[in-house]
């Protein structure tokens, strides 16, 4: 299906990052090798873009510019950025409602994402989807799903399509530790392994399903073992370390592309903010959050590595500046883009029916 391009959504060169550009051609498994300096810089840039974008979204929510639910990805950036580093052209991404980071890492335009958050015509869904419901056929981003766990069979279906067509692509299906308790996840595990579908089940374990910790909700807290009875290999990965994530992703993708079926990656990560904007996060100690930020922050880890490698503060400041500009542009666009035309209320419901010519 051809993606619709909105005239109100100018292509942003700066957002089409090098990482996204690189994915335009298929490349072989990049293995578990450490990041080159350039790769570290790119990862830093990508993760920082997501973080600044999310901070801005939080701010705009506070200003009443964004409505409804808004789930921020702050703290989890290394998961999507690391995995995208191991992806090739045509690999699909599908996730739940904490989806802004995934969209940006897929190369979707931050302007279009932010304008969707504000419900404007320039948004990816013309303002009709909102934070939880955005898609880009062009960038192989399949949503953005608001029902916890629903994306898991959907992602398994993307993998089914890959196998049906005999292409070499993998469907990366993201869900949280909360969704990991939904029955449909296990229905999907069963079919994915039964039919050897190329699906990576990425469990983003940020340790809290809304306000319920993993220990309070899961009989087996090691979620990477949840595929054991289906014979799906799984492993726990330091989801705060972008290198570890990419290495695990590369391994899983090699497995899938070899026709061996699905793979489970449990990404041990952490969200700094509440579940949604209205969550005061009283179920955990402030110290716990502070400790994570200080000791495990995914962006800080790369920053330190870059400085150690001799990259100057000025270079990093330039990156920061660049990113602030992209985010400021996105925020401005999201406020200047008009609300959807009232006629849009009645569009995109069904396509013309077969046989009627209507």
């Amino acid at each position: 299906m051809a993606p619709k391009s909105s005239p109100q959504k100018p292509a942003s060169k700066s957002a089409d990052t090098k990482a996204a550009a690189k994915r335009k051609s298929a490349k072989p498994d990049i293995s578990g090798s450490p990041f080159t300096l350039e790769e570290d810089k790119e990862a830093y840039r990508e993760m920082l873009l997501i973080r600044r974008f999310e901070e801005k979204a939080g701010q705009m929510y506070g200003m009443g510019l964004i409505g409804g639910f808004c789930h921020l990805y702050i703290g989890q950036e290394a998961v999507i950025v690391g995995l995208m580093g191991a992806a090739i052209k045509g690999d699909q991404i599908i996730t739940g409602y904490r989806d802004h980071g995934h969209m940006i890492a897929c190369g979707m335009d931050p302007k279009g994402v932010m304008a969707e958050l504000t419900g404007r015509a320039g948004g990816y869904s013309k303002g009709k989807g909102g934070s939880m419901h955005m898609f880009s056929a062009e960038k192989n981003f399949y949503g953005g799903h608001g029902i916890v766990g629903a994306q898991v069979p959907l992602g398994t279906g993307l993998g089914f399509a890959n196998k049906y067509r005999g292409n070499n692509n993998v469907a990366m299906t993201f869900f949280g530790d909360g969704a990991a308790n939904q029955g449909q996840v296990y229905e999907s595990f069963n079919m994915a392994e039964l039919w050897s579908l190329p699906v990576i089940f990425v469990i983003e374990n940020n340790q809290y399903a809304m306000g319920t910790s993993v220990a309070r909700a899961s009989a087996q807290t090691n979620l990477s073992k949840r595929g054991v009875s289906f014979n799906i290999p799984g492993e726990q990965v330091d989801g705060m370390d972008v290198c570890a994530v990419r290495a695990a992703g590369a391994k899983a993708m090699t497995w899938c592309r070899a026709g061996k079926g699905p793979y489970i990656l449990e990404m041990m990560t952490y969200r700094y903010r509440g579940h949604s904007m209205s969550d005061p996060a009283k179920y955990r100690a402030k110290e716990e959050v502070a400790k994570m930020r200080q000791e495990h922050d995914p962006i800080e880890q790369v920053r330190v590595r870059l400085l150690d490698a001799g990259v100057s503060e000025d270079v990093l400041k330039d990156i920061d500046k660049d990113i602030r500009a992209i985010v400021a542009d996105a925020a401005a666009f999201a406020q200047s883009s008009p609300e959807p035309d009232p006629s849009e209320l009645w569009t995109d419901i069904v396509a013309p029916l077969t046989g009627t010519g209507a």
């Binding site: 869904s125 056929a137 959907l154 279906g157 069963n190 995109d348 419901i349 077969t354 046989g355 009627t356």
Partner: protein
């Protein structure tokens, strides 16, 4: 005293079958559990085991006999010491489901005293062949799978078993397991998987063994399939068909006897189709498979074995969203869909004898509803009765009544009446089930009420 072996009922809806093979001959000794015969129904071929022990005295029905009625005597067994030459035996046990002499519309529609109108969309001069709804549905899928490599069928028992209701019979042989995919019993999972495959551009046909089981999966039908086009601003869609038998079957109780028509017809983003005839089943299923929208295709088990004329066209497509006037009439409009039409046709035949000329509209598609055709009819007849196997509350009839009073209020000479299933869960007991279902008599009564007769 010799024992009669009766033609067994092998499914809830079986009325007759073919005795394809005898595994015993006269004079053989049989013991309980021995396979004695093979019987083919419209749904399956099954072996029959002996229950009683003794010597086969007589085979009453020759091998290969078709249309052997349930409970017909097929063989006689004499026990040890029994006189094999005893007088002709009488039926031993009354059938649990004795056919009453009064017509039962759910099982054997009374002959219709008029011919139903041909679909005006079918070109003049077209030849027809006689086909069951079941065969027509299978042909529709096969034709579309030959036409488009992206079309595949997925569901429980669709492949090796040849379909729980034999609708997919033969498809595995032609298309292989890549495109005829047997699933585990996992409705929620495979419905979602199908929608994901549709997002990726494939054209899945997802069979639910019955729509009762689709409740396990309904989140994907509504939240994932129906809403994505809108939520994505038109960027992404799910061209998928969910099909399977819907509505009351026969004696299967409350959890397996429910009409979901109004559930799905409620949802913007879905197309809902519920055909009656084999020709429409074929033409509409082909259209549904090609349609870019998610389609809920509601079949009916009671109609699967019913035979209709199906046009012999290379590509018989019936337009989605158009009702068909099955019979023209002056005095009252009957609107129904799927199996509900059997009550209407039966009632119309009875009404004709009493001088009431009913017009019958087969909705065919429930969403979008072809209100224009109904309104045009009501403007002519000034009276309307809706007939459906759904419960009355918020049913299709309620929707039609609301629309018609808004668009043709001044043309109505009587209140619109609805004939529906009674507002109770479906009972198992034969008499209660019959009371719960709508009937031709209910339709006749409603028509007389709106005609003030």
């Amino acid at each position: 005293m010799p024992t009669n072996i009766l033609m067994p009922a092998l499914s809830p809806t079986m009325e007759e079958g073919t005795l394809t093979k005898w595994y015993v001959k006269e004079g053989d000794d049989v013991r309980s559990g021995d396979v004695i015969a093979e019987i083919e129904t419209d749904k399956a071929t099954m072996e029959v085991e002996a229950v009683d022990e003794g010597k086969i005295v007589k085979l009453m029905v020759a091998e290969g006999t078709e249309n052997v009625k349930v409970n017909e005597i097929i063989a006689v067994i004499a026990g040890e010491g029994e006189d094999a030459n005893a007088p002709a035996p009488k039926a031993v046990t009354p059938a649990p489901e004795v056919k009453t002499s009064e017509p039962d519309a759910t099982r054997a529609p009374a002959p219709v005293a008029f011919s139903v109108a041909a679909d005006p969309e079918i070109p003049a001069g077209t030849t027809f062949k006689s086909q069951t709804v079941r065969e027509a549905l299978r042909d529709a899928m096969a034709e579309e799978m030959r036409r488009d490599e992206a079309v595949f069928v997925m569901g429980e028992e669709v492949g090796e078993y040849q379909g729980a209701y034999k609708v997919t019979q033969g498809l595995l042989d032609e298309f292989g397991p890549r495109r005829i995919v047997d699933t585990p019993i996992t409705e929620h999972g495979f419905a979602g998987l199908g929608v994901g495959a549709a997002f990726a551009g494939l054209r899945p046909i997802i069979e639910f063994m019955t729509f009762n089981f689709a409740m396990q999966a309904i989140d994907h039908l509504i939240n994932s399939a129906a809403k994505t086009r809108y939520m994505s601003g038109g960027q992404m869609a799910s061209p998928i068909v969910f099909r399977g038998p819907n509505g009351p079957a026969s004696r299967v109780g409350a959890q397996h006897s429910q009409d979901y028509a109004s559930w799905y017809a409620h949802i913007p983003g879905l197309i809902v189709i519920a055909p009656y005839s084999a020709a429409d089943a074929k033409g509409l299923l082909k259209a549904a498979i090609r349609d870019p929208n998610p389609v809920i295709f509601l079949e009916n088990e009671m109609l699967y074995g019913k035979t209709f004329d199906v046009p012999e066209l290379d590509d018989h497509l019936v337009p989605i969203g158009k009702a068909h006037v099955l019979k023209e009439g002056r005095d009252v409009t009957l609107v129904s869909h799927s199996h509900g039409l059997t009550y209407c046709l039966d009632a119309a035949a009875q009404l004709a004898e009493e001088g009431i000329d009913a017009e019958i509209i087969d909705l065919r598609t429930l969403r979008p509803l072809d209100i224009d055709t109904i309104v045009a009819s009501v403007k002519k007849t000034n009276r309307l009765v809706t007939v459906e196997e759904t419960w009355p509350v918020c049913g299709i009839g309620a929707e039609i009544a609301a629309a018609v009073q808004a668009k043709a209020f001044d043309y109505l000479d009587a209140p619109i009446l609805r004939v529906t299933q009674k507002d109770v869960p479906m009972p198992y007991a034969a008499n209660l089930e019959k009371l719960a279902l709508p009937s031709a008599a209910d339709v006749v009564e409603a028509v007389k009420a709106v005609c003030y007769r």
